[in-house]
Assembly symmetry: C2
DNA sequence: CTGAAAGCGCTTACAG
DNA sequence: CTGAAAGCGCTTACAG
């Protein structure tokens, strides 16, 4: 069965292919009568324009890409371990879909790879999730394609659209909550205070809350780990038990980390929230699944994805012309992993 | 900055565009000398072929699609609730990537939508995740595009490639495990025994194990729910407590359901595995996160995704020409949610 | 072994 | 208001 093309439609409607294209794209005025004939032909022949051909001639693919950091040579492991990406991607997918765009996902190791991908597939825009080298951003700039960055604080980042979250306030809320519950020895668990600006911001909030309450900053209560995985949470949980007996409250930069910590604590016979009160960050779907369920700083990740998607599409369709950064609110969700200090 | 095209390369190498195409595609023999010149030009000019153009002329997009059932008009909610999809998609993504294919994801409501998508994007192949109407499969057949179905048992399904899991054995293993632990009153929690062939198969395994042990089948111990969500698990958990005092073992068709049930049980003051032993199905990443961690029937979902991906790509590249169905093994993973009956 | 030319399915100045 | 023609960037019989 041969594919129905614009020529077939043209023939059926007794007009030129150009005219069919005109009515389909709403460009140029076409008389009502011919318009009707064309539309009818489209209907009868069950015609659907070929996006590949459109891409080629319009230089526009109606395709956006989401770039993820590449782990183990595949984004697979990223997805498996980080439910955050999952929800975010869903968000952008859903707005893209509504606005007639398709979305592709790729892990990106180096700048070249990214550039090639954009060129190869003629992507109309890009969303970057995670941290990448400045070199990559330079490449991006050269590519001159609408781009939105997520959760970045670096200065060179202002050359792009940006969506982030009120990280400092998040760290503050979490810490304040524990303080209000009477905790005085509160730990902070992050990935890296030097290489992760997001974590640094949250740490600022933590310090601020401590300070407001007249509590000192104890460097021994700061734990850093490589990346956000359950296993790393486990390790930190162990460390916490063996390491410091005065700690009763723990602020964390991620739900998954918090869940790992809780698990380790429980394995060592500790009670959460009996012995330790813990607050997560993100409010992933699964933060409800655990026992105890997780008190956490909620960011609406799906909404974040939607916002990023809309920003990108606006930029692609030249609706927004200026770079902007939108900061999304953050909210404390109190569940079972925190309680008054004994 | 203008895009580098095949013409530029041709000019630089002092050959025709056709020749460039020949060496890039390894088709026809080209003299070593010209080949070298072309490759050098490609290198120097930093040339990357435009897939859009290739798609158009080769009628091959190097793009595969993963179709998900559409909930609430967007695949987003599907992803949010069902970690299974997540891992599966990662699996196919990773093999596609290695084989130079990109993958797109779409929710599909009706057959027309699916057909349009395939046409629009010139997809080379399709993977279907979830249940769809027979009508859709008819459309698919008409489309005549390589397709692999996941977890289907319907008869008309044999017209496609298929990857599934040894569901019956899974149900059997789970049940047998509980029986071996001394449980006699074992419930079975499914979505639907009539509309879900997968659940029916697992149920077969359940019955077989019961029978082997000389235990009768008690219809009161069978619970059905609409779909696999944490909330539905919660509901069933409540029902279990109020409903039947003799029950001590529970076999489930999904980890998420099991986790919901455990949560509800715990909320009502019951112990898991003290009062109830529960076994899940899937072995999602999160089945380790919960307390107690979940005893479950493991299927390697990522591997399943990879298998599906390879099957599809083999079929696209005419490596495999016959339809085949591969059945993946299943394995009991014993963790903390089950124990000897008191 | 190499190239001219037609074609993939659409769009878009340009002319009328 | 409508259409002929060139073009998007590649591929592929076909001829030589």
């Amino acid at each position: 069965m041969k594919k129905t093309t614009i020529k077939d439609v043209a023939k059926y409607a007794e007009v030129s292919p150009a005219t069919v294209s005109y009515v389909l794209n709403g460009v140029k005025k076409v008389s009502d009568d011919t318009k009707r004939r064309v539309l009818e032909a489209v209907e009868v022949l069950n015609y659907y324009p070929d996006f590949t051909a459109i891409s080629l001639s319009k230089k526009k693919s109606n395709l956006i890409g989401i770039m993820l950091p590449l782990v183990e040579d595949s984004p697979a492991s990223v997805f498996k371990n980080n439910l955050y990406y999952n929800e975010f991607v869903s968000g952008v997918e859903s707005v893209a879909r509504n606005r007639k765009f398709d979305t592709m996902i790729a892990g990106v190791g180096n700048p070249e790879e990214c550039r090639n991908w954009v060129k190869k597939r003629n992507l109309d825009g890009l969303i970057f999730l995670g941290m990448f080298s400045q070199h990559l951003y330079n490449e991006l700039k050269a590519l001159n394609i609408p781009t939105v960055l997520i959760d970045t604080y670096e200065e060179y980042t202002n050359l792009f659209d940006n969506v982030k979250v009120n990280d400092e306030h998040g760290g503050y809320l979490a810490t304040k909550h524990l303080i209000d519950l009477g905790h005085k020895d509160i730990g902070f668990v992050a990935t890296s205070l030097i290489s992760s600006p997001v974590d640094t911001k949250r740490f600022e909030g933590y310090k601020k809350a401590l300070q407001e309450a007249g509590l000192g900053l104890d460097k021994k209560l700061i734990f850093e780990t490589k990346d956000i995985t359950f296993d790393n949470g486990l390790k930190i949980g162990k460390k916490i038990v063996s390491y410091n007996r005065k700690l009763t409250g723990i602020v964390t930069v991620s739900d998954v980390l918090a869940i790992g910590i809780i698990k380790a604590l429980q394995k060592q016979g500790k009670q959460v929230p009996g012995d330790y009160s813990i607050v997560g960050f993100d409010d992933l779907t699964i933060s409800n699944y655990t026992t105890p369920s997780l008190t956490t700083v909620r960011q609406d990740i799906i909404e974040k994805g939607k916002t990023a998607g809309n920003l990108l599409l606006n930029s692609i369709e030249s609706i927004d012309t200026e770079h902007q950064t939108v900061e999304m609110p953050v909210e404390l969700i109190i569940r079972e992993s925190t309680q008054k200090r004994n």
